[in-house]
């Protein structure tokens, strides 16, 4: 049996549709779509999207004004950069990145909006229900998404998302432009590092060894050790104890 009624959280820019348009929209009547109005699609914090997935949404749709139009100058551009990072993170969490889409709509395109919803519903239909929406939630993926959420809560990743446009479209502090490829490569690296570190951190609520962590995360122990070293340096974890020849590390509780 195909999956026809995916639960969709749809965040829509205030300036795409006014209240009245939305109220009369057919889309509104589709019970599986929960439309949330925001002042600008640039308001969507990556944490909100991941939180929504954790709560069981099958898909998250962000709808904003097509560039170069934006009531708040360029909120939509930032939304694009955020979605870019979120998609990278979703791949790492094993949740299909197709469950998140950002679409542009002009205020006069109500029909187009309906089509977008229809297409997205179909897209999700092919994917089936979210592993976090089923009766028995996939705890691994849930933990992954939590790690991703923690990663985008963190200063480092947020700082990079916030700086991307300035650095790649204008000039950096040295008056030079950073190429999109260069920045994207850095972003890939940082997204992966932060995701893995926050995943490790979640695991390390109780003491863990490098080898155990490597096995649990299906990673090379040498790579895990490197993260452990850096996480210790940053005060995220500490050595808990040593059992025989095996050091165990534990997350540092921050009050």
């Amino acid at each position: 049996m195909s999956f026809e009624e995916p639960k969709i959280a749809c965040f829509v820019c205030n300036w795409v549709f006014g209240e009245e348009e939305l109220a009369t929209s057919r889309v509104r009547k589709a019970a599986n779509v929960n439309v949330v109005r925001v002042m600008c699609i640039g308001r969507i914090d990556p944490v909100i999207v991941l939180q929504t997935f954790m709560k069981g949404a099958d898909g998250v749709l962000l709808v904003g004004c097509a560039p170069p139009d934006c009531h708040f100058v360029e909120g939509n551009v930032y939304a694009e950069l955020t979605v870019n990072v979120l998609k990278k993170l979703l791949v790492l969490t094993n949740l299909e990145p197709e469950r998140l889409e950002l679409r542009w709509v002009s205020p006069i395109e109500e029909v187009r909006f309906a089509k977008i919803i229809k297409d997205f519903t179909e897209q999700l239909g092919k994917l089936g229900p979210s592993p976090l929406a089923r009766e028995k939630r996939d705890v691994n993926i849930l933990e992954n998404v939590l790690a991703a959420k923690n990663a985008v809560t963190n200063f480092r990743l947020r700082a990079l998302i916030g700086k991307e446009k300035e650095l790649t479209k204008s000039v950096n502090a040295y008056g030079e432009r950073v190429s999109c490829e260069e920045f994207n490569a850095l972003l890939d690296e940082v997204v992966e590092e932060e995701f893995i570190r926050h995943k490790l951190l979640l695991a390390m609520k109780k003491p863990f060894s490098v080898k155990e962590l490597a096995k649990a995360l299906n990673m090379k122990p040498a790579v895990v050790l490197r993260h452990i070293v850096n996480m210790r340096r940053k005060g995220m974890i500490a050595l808990d104890s040593v059992e025989g020849t095996t050091p165990l590390y534990k997350a540092v509780e921050v009050r």
Partner: protein, 1003 residues
């Protein structure tokens, strides 16, 4: 007419050698520029965990020197910079330098580190040898000097966050490289060394196998501030290894790689690493060192080697490892080697490659710019009798760039280079240095304490955790506190101005700063008090960074409460602080050198080149000492000609009074003011002088073994040398036995020079009588450094080297007039006989019989072996613990000609730091005796480690303030409680101790 000389010296390289050279220069009246290509000074030593043979923490002993260099008024640190050009000549060089941009304003950066916390970019941490990462804006190590951040421009994406975060506004992305020209009179090169690139030794798998690491990586692993927090882990899986192999001579003694020389320090550092490793794991670690010869030739090194084997359970396997393989599943390692002719394989968890020393990177460019010659290995070219001079006049060399060497020898050479470099411009002493003037001190003795408290946020370093305004409010309520405020950075320049203003405005007479550590910052604030006309001892610090915000970073309320406690306790002490005077003593600008051998003569000549007068006292009736018995050297230099010319220089020198046939009878006084009684032909005479150099030499062990003295064909190496030099040699077969009287139960240590001596004589024999067969029976051949070339040459010339051990010592017999030796063949495991015409014994160097008497007179210690013991074997190799007395030559330990010369020059430089001053100002924190209470029991005199207490004519203890180091042991032990430590009186300590108890009544 020649131009006037410049009273400044450039030191190239900020490792331990460069730092020591700069300090000696600046302390003897010259300006020093210390340039380093790294962002901070400290060199390799700053990266090490512990040091041999004392197992001192490397950073703990180095950091005070770095800090001192960093804040010395006459040392100008130029980091992240390189030399690009040189003009001029001795006395008048113009050096062009390029200072690469740090992108940080060094004046503004206060090292708080907020920038690095927020930097989103990570880069490989090369300081940790790639075992961890750091941010793109960084310092190399936590105690970096200067403590100024730097941006890694390669990695930085220019996001601009650090600039936003930096409160002092120190980040300057637009900063460019700058060029400058320094005018200096002479130059010292101390660029150090590079570690050998272990990848080139492909058979050991470095770079391919994760658990194969280099020795310098292993140092970082051992280091508590290294990547693994001081726990030894396998890079492959983070497990603690149970079994570690150390492979020696990686990149050294390897003619195939073109590195035939021995790197001189690796045997000892590997033994140290093997010993220390056990302290860095919670299990009993199996450690094996694979070696060719263990070269433990330095002071008490063999004793350390023995302890490694016997006490610390380190296993030693004599074998050149063939190759290393890895089990790809477990990442365990298989070491393949041959022992006693049999191929063997052993499994290890981790392998450490003892990488050798290579000349510093870009050395050829540096040599070209400076116009100096390099030797065949691209180290600096020097000669036996001028070990400090490069090929260009006015440019000197020290440290590993001259030849691979360990830390103390680098320090010795650094002082020596300072002597040489300052001697060339001695006329300019005092011309370019800054002497600061202070306003007259306010008399506060009759005033009630009026305390000002300044509490530092240190950006967010303290302020991010500790509620600083709350601490300020607490401070304001404390008795006698009339003013308190918080500062973003109490150490910044503008805050110093502010503190001076507040002292005036509120008529403060005591100041407390609650900030970081007094270790680095107390001198700065004391200076501020002096500038405000307050006695600098009316100051105290509370360390609320290390002790509050750092250790309690996750419990801010507790950190704040503790900060209040600390401030309250320090205020309690401060209330009782008194004005202290720094004792001042005059200096007699005359030196006394005891011993007229090569070292003593060199030290005397160097002192006169610094414009000081010298008394040179020699027990025998002629000068020259041990050098008189050296007839030839392996190179082309003629030691007798050199000796003659040195003695001629001494006798022609008007500043040297030579006292031959003379003994020291008595020594009185202290640094700057010694009075020594000497006796010659029954006549006693007194001389007055400011310093003493001990250069009394050593003597040859007279063997009782191997038929020496009963068969005339048995000689010592010196006797053989004399025979060879005087054409009295004719033997068909010569056997040499090494370690006679050395490395035995009675004398466990190596005499250092005998291996080289034997090879020198063996080569001479092959030169004058190529047909003669030469056998050398040895335990380890210890031809360290470039001497290894002669070992190879001897082997190529057909000299046979046969190893023996203590269980298989050679047996010498005389039968029917035949002189025979039975030697053990370790591979065939048989004894075999050799008939010989000459048996040469390489005998130990032993201390002079009257060293003990002299040591007692000077109140300086001896080692177990009877050699003189310096103040610190690593970093104060030329000083005694007693101020004003210095040490050089064989009296310190057996050594080669070039080493004796280096030490003698170095001792002269150390002495010049005292003789160049008209007066000596010493620390005011000294003890004093209440004369009414003292009963003259003398306990304090015996307890004082510095000989700083004596009895006066009434029999009452008197503190010689110049000698007192302020430890306070005398006070704590005085049965009558008659002795008080200034600045740490009982009342002050008790007040401080009590006030920290919360709720205790204070005041």
């Amino acid at each position: 007419m020649t131009e006037e000389k410049v009273g400044a010296i450039l030191v190239v390289g900020g490792g331990v050698a460069g730092v020591q050279a700069a300090l000696d220069i600046a302390d003897s009246g010259f300006k020093a520029y210390l340039i380093d290509q790294s962002p901070s000074i400290g060199g390799v030593m700053a990266k090490l965990d512990k040091t041999f043979p004392t197992n001192d923490c490397s950073m703990c002993i180095l950091a005070p020197k770095l800090v001192e260099a960093g804040r010395h008024p006459n040392i100008n640190l130029i980091t992240n910079a390189e030399i690009t050009g040189l003009n001029g000549e001795l006395g008048n060089f113009e050096v062009k330098i390029r200072k690469r941009s740090r992108y940080i304003n060094e004046e503004k950066c206060n090292g708080c580190g907020s920038c690095a916390q927020k930097c989103p970019v990570e880069a490989i941490d090369t300081y940790n040898k790639g075992l961890s990462d750091r941010s793109a804006i960084y310092i190399e190590y936590p105690q970096a000097v200067p403590l100024k951040y730097i941006i890694d421009r390669e990695k930085c994406i220019g996001c601009g966050i650090c600039q936003e975060i930096c409160k002092p506004g120190a980040v300057e992305y637009e900063q460019e490289d700058t060029e400058a020209t320094l005018k200096v009179g002479s130059i010292i090169l101390a660029p150090g060394f590079e570690s050998f690139d272990a990848r080139l030794k492909t058979e050991y798998g470095y770079g391919r196998f994760q658990n194969v690491v280099t020795s310098i990586e292993f140092e970082r692993i051992l280091n508590a501030s290294g990547p693994y927090g001081g726990l030894i882990l396998r890079p492959s899986d983070g497990e603690i290894p149970k079994k570690i192999a150390f492979i020696q001579c990686v990149g050294s003694r390897d003619a195939q790689l073109g590195n035939n020389y021995c790197s001189a320090a690796c045997c000892m550092y590997s033994i140290k690493e093997a010993i220390i490793a056990n302290e860095h794991v919670p299990i009993e670690l199996e450690r094996t060192i694979f070696y060719m010869d263990i070269r433990a030739y330095g002071k008490e090194f063999d004793a350390y080697y023995s302890r490694a084997r016997e006490e610390y359970g380190v296993r030693f396997v004599r074998s050149r490892v063939a190759n290393v393989e890895e089990d790809p599943l477990t990442n365990d390692l298989f070491v393949h080697y041959v022992e006693d002719g049999e191929p063997k394989t052993e499994e290890f968890d981790m392998v450490v490659l003892s990488v050798g020393m290579r000349p510093p990177k870009n050395v050829e460019k540096l040599a070209e710019v400076l116009g100096i010659k390099l030797n065949q290995y691209k180290f600096c070219q020097t000669d036996t009798f001028s070990p400090i001079e490069t090929s260009k006049p006015g440019i000197f060399v020290c440290g590993a760039f001259a030849a691979p060497k360990d830390i103390p020898e680098s320090v010795v050479q650094a002082s020596a280079a300072a002597a040489k470099a300052t001697a060339t411009i001695a006329s300019e002493r005092g011309k370019l240095i800054t002497i600061k003037e202070y306003p007259p001190e306010r008399d506060v003795s009759l005033e009630e304490p009026r305390i000002g408290v300044f509490i530092c946020h240190c950006g967010i370093n303290i302020g991010g955790i500790v509620n600083v305004p709350e601490v300020v409010e607490h401070a304001k309520k404390l008795p006698n506190v009339v003013y308190a405020e918080d500062n973003l950075y109490t150490c910044s320049q503008d805050t110093q101005v502010r503190i001076r203003e507040k002292i005036k405005e509120f008529n403060l007479n005591r100041v407390v700063v609650a900030a970081c550590t007094p270790r680095t910052h107390e001198p700065l604030f004391r200076e501020t008090l002096s500038e405000a006309g307050l006695n600098s001892y009316l100051f105290e610090m509370a360390n609320i960074r290390d002790q509050c915000s750092w250790v309690h970073m996750h419990e801010p309320e507790k950190a704040t409460e503790k900060a209040k406690d600390l401030v309250r306790s320090v205020v309690a002490k401060t209330r009782l602080l008194e004005t202290l005077k720094k004792p001042v003593t005059s200096v007699i600008p005359v030196g006394l050198v005891i011993g007229g051998g090569l070292s003593g003569m060199t030290a005397a000549l160097e002192l006169t080149r610094q414009d000081f007068e010298v008394h040179l006292v020699e027990r025998e009736k002629e000068l020259g000492g041990h050098l008189r018995h050296i007839y030839y050297l392996p190179g082309s230099e003629n030691p007798h000609e050199m000796l003659k010319s040195i003695i001629k220089d001494i006798h022609e020198n008007e500043k040297i009074s030579v006292h031959l046939n003379t003994e020291i009878v008595n020594v009185e006084g202290y640094v700057g003011n010694f009075r020594t009684t000497i006796r010659s032909d029954g006549n006693e005479k007194q001389i007055e002088h400011g310093i003493i150099v001990v250069a009394t030499g050593a003597t040859e062990y007279k063997p009782t073994e191997y038929l020496y003295g009963t068969d005339a064909r048995v000689l010592t190496q010196h006797e053989l040398e004399e025979n060879l030099a005087k054409d009295r040699f004719s033997a068909k077969t010569v056997v040499m036995i090494q370690c006679v009287g050395a490395r035995t139960k009675e004398r466990p240590n190596c005499s250092r020079i005998c291996c080289g001596h034997a090879i020198k004589n063996a080569l001479k024999i092959k030169e004058v009588s190529p047909e003669t067969e030469v056998y050398v029976l040895y335990k380890d051949i210890r031809t360290y450094g470039f001497k290894e070339d002669y070992y190879r040459e001897a082997a190529n010339e057909g000299v046979l080297f046969i190893r023996y051990d203590d269980e298989h010592k050679p047996k010498v017999t005389q039968e029917n007039g035949k002189l025979m030796v039975l030697a053990w063949e370790p591979i065939l495991k048989t004894w075999f006989p050799i008939e010989m015409g000459t048996l040469a014994l390489s005998v130990a160097v032993v201390p002079n019989h009257d060293s003990e008497r002299l040591a007692r007179m000077l109140k300086v210690p001896l080692t177990k072996d009877g050699f003189f013991l310096e103040a610190h074997v690593k970093l104060r190799p030329l000083d005694f613990a007693t101020d004003g007395i210095f040490l050089c030559g064989l009296a310190h330990w057996p050594k080669l000609i070039e080493e004796s010369i280096s030490q003698a020059c170095g001792a002269a430089a150390r002495a010049a730091t005292i003789l160049s001053k008209k007066t000596l100002e010493v620390e005011g924190i000294v003890s004093y005796v209440d004369e009414d209470l003292c009963v003259g029991c003398g306990l304090c005199i015996s307890l004082c480690p510095y000989g700083a207490i004596e009895k006066d004519e009434r029999g009452i203890a008197r503190v010689k303030e110049v000698l007192c180091k302020g430890c306070g042991t005398c006070g704590a032990s005085c049965p009558k409680r008659a002795i008080t430590m200034r600045q740490f009186t009982d009342e002050q300590i008790i007040a401080q101790g009590l006030a920290v108890l919360r709720g205790a009544v204070c005041g």
